[in-house]
């Protein structure tokens, strides 16, 4: 008798739990979807996302720091000395980047004294041929056009400038309290980082 009662109780509890489960699923059925329809809509990359190595040619001072630090020798730089108006001047003859060797460590970005070399936000970098990413001429304005038709150096530089930490700004620096109060706005970073202030780097909570 007790066995039958237990069985009935089990059946009852099973039914109840089924209804609870069904309530949960129907709630989710009408809840908004979290899917990002990827190829159609794209997400903005994180501020410190390390994409392809990119260069602002006019900012490079030919210090060879990036060449030295690169652990896999993915960068190749040569220069020659020119004499223009009686002044000596160095000029880059070749600055190439081999994306197949690169391990995306970001050391070149970090070491560069003028922030000339940086890593952009490209992440759709599949190509049909090895040669297409083996010898990328960093001096070229349209270096990644063959990988991504929407690539634009100016836009990547802009994103990079916004996200770079420790850049010295000419404009008056916002007081620390204000930075702490509104971390989302302060993409520009104070040169003296306040210890309590949240690291004001993550600006893109919103999706694209």
């Amino acid at each position: 008798m007790e066995k039958i009662f237990r069985k009935i109780k089990n059946a009852y509890l099973g039914m109840i739990s089924l209804f609870i489960g069904m309530r949960v699923t129907i709630k989710n059925y009408f809840a908004p979807s979290v899917t990002l329809e990827y190829p159609i809509k794209k997400k903005k990359m994180a501020p410190n996302f390390r994409g392809m190595v990119d260069l602002k040619p006019e900012a490079c001072v030919i210090c060879y720091q990036c060449i030295k630090i690169c652990p896999v020798a993915a960068l190749d730089l040569t220069h020659k000395q020119m004499v223009a108006d009686g002044k000596k001047k160095n000029e880059i003859t070749k600055f190439t980047y081999n994306a197949e060797l690169c391990c995306f460590c970001g050391l070149c970005d970090e070491i560069c004294p003028t922030d000339a070399i940086f890593m952009n936000k490209m992440y759709e970098v599949s190509v049909y041929d090895h040669n297409q990413v083996m010898n990328i001429d960093l001096m070229n304005e349209n270096k990644y056009k063959h990988v991504d038709a929407n690539y634009s150096l100016a836009a990547e530089i802009k994103i990079n400038d916004l996200n770079t930490v420790g850049i010295i700004q000419k404009s008056p620096v916002a007081p620390v309290a204000a930075v702490a109060a509104a971390p989302a706005v302060s993409a520009v970073v104070s040169p003296t980082p306040a210890p309590e202030a949240p690291k004001p780097t993550s600006t893109n909570k919103e999706t694209a």
């Binding site: 089924l18 009408f30 899917t35 329809e37």
Partner: protein, 322 residues
């Protein structure tokens, strides 16, 4: 003078083409709908690219399956392997003969309609077992055997719950059962409501759906009996599965929810609304529950569902004699 036989043949041809068209469209729609329901329950979107909200996805899939190579596994029992999909599809198509779609639309209202449907759909298990045996693959064989055990066990409570309806209606004809519900659907009576629950549970097992989908348990058997099938043969299993789902839901709508009866709107609309409503319920359950274990499932059928169905039968008989 028109030969009466040719008239009959012609109406049969028309009816059966309508039915066949309906079966393929319904199966495609159900596959798409299942994907959508599962996606939304899991907070996803499901197919979105092909057509409006991916509505043409099933057509794209069908074309893809038609173009696929038909691979016969080496060591398969060729004849049985080849025949199995037909044994699965043909009975489910045949069951449409007695399903009353509307007030005046039923291919042939047999006076043993419900008996015909339940017996013809049991042939499906033969096809599934043939597929499992013929594939010469341990997972397929396990799937086929599980399916045979499951479908035969769940047939018992299913039929016992159908018997309650037959007792109440006093007829086996599908149209007759609907007419018997003119003054209130059968589900409104308590003993028939229990019969409906039993029917729903065992029909879920009959069509191999979660939580009773152990014959095709993807994670343990690699899709079970249809593992070795490719291309159109696989599509036939798929279509049969969704056609069977429609059949059990249509039968449930007919037996318990008054079939095509309903105010204002055309009767076919009511019938489809009720059938697809039950299908939605079954999808909803599918994406809520996990899969049960083999022994749990068999135990549930024999130790719980069958006694309850018998008890229900007894109570209904007592109600009628009173």
């Amino acid at each position: 003078m028109i030969d009466p036989l040719s008239v009959q043949v012609r109406s049969m041809v028309i009816n059966s083409s309508v039915i066949l068209g309906f079966i393929s469209i319904s199966a495609m729609f159900l596959i798409w709908w299942e994907r959508k329901v599962s996606a939304h329950i899991q907070n996803r979107l499901g197919p979105m690219i092909v057509g409006w909200h991916g509505s043409l996805q099933s057509i794209a899939d069908t074309v893809k399956l038609l173009l696929k190579e038909n691979i016969v596994p080496a060591g398969a029992d060729k004849m049985i392997w080849w025949l199995a999909p037909f044994f699965v599809v043909v009975p489910s198509v045949m069951a449409f003969v007695t399903i009353p779609f509307a007030r005046n639309f039923v291919v042939h209202d047999l006076n043993v309609g419900i008996l015909f449907i339940t017996s013809i759909t049991s042939v499906c298990v033969l096809g599934i077992f043939m597929a499992g045996w013929g594939s010469n693959n341990k997972y397929s064989l396990l799937g086929g055997m599980r399916s045979a055990a499951q479908i035969i066990s769940y047939e018992v409570p299913l039929l016992l719950s159908v018997v309650v309806v037959i007792m109440e209606a006093g007829t086996l004809s599908m149209q007759g059962i609907i007419q018997a519900q003119e003054h209130g659907w059968f589900i409104l009576k308590p003993n028939l409501a229990i019969a409906f629950v039993i029917y729903f549970i065992s029909s879920t097992a009959e069509v191999n759906r979660v939580p009773f989908d152990i014959p095709e348990a993807e994670s343990e058997l690699g899709a079970g009996y249809h593992t070795e099938y490719t291309g159109m043969k696989f599509a036939m299993f798929f279509v049969a599965e969704y056609t069977n789902l429609f059949i059990v839901s249509a039968v449930a709508a007919t037996l318990f929810l008054g079939g095509w009866q309903g105010p204002f709107l055309p009767s076919v609309f009511w019938f489809l609304l009720k059938s697809y409503g039950i299908i939605f319920l079954s999808m909803w359950v599918r994406w809520t529950l996990p899969r049960v274990r083999m022994d749990q499932m068999m135990g549930f059928a024999w130790k719980f569902l069958t006694p309850v169905a018998l008890l229900n039968l007894l109570i209904s008989g007592w109600f009628m004699l009173r």
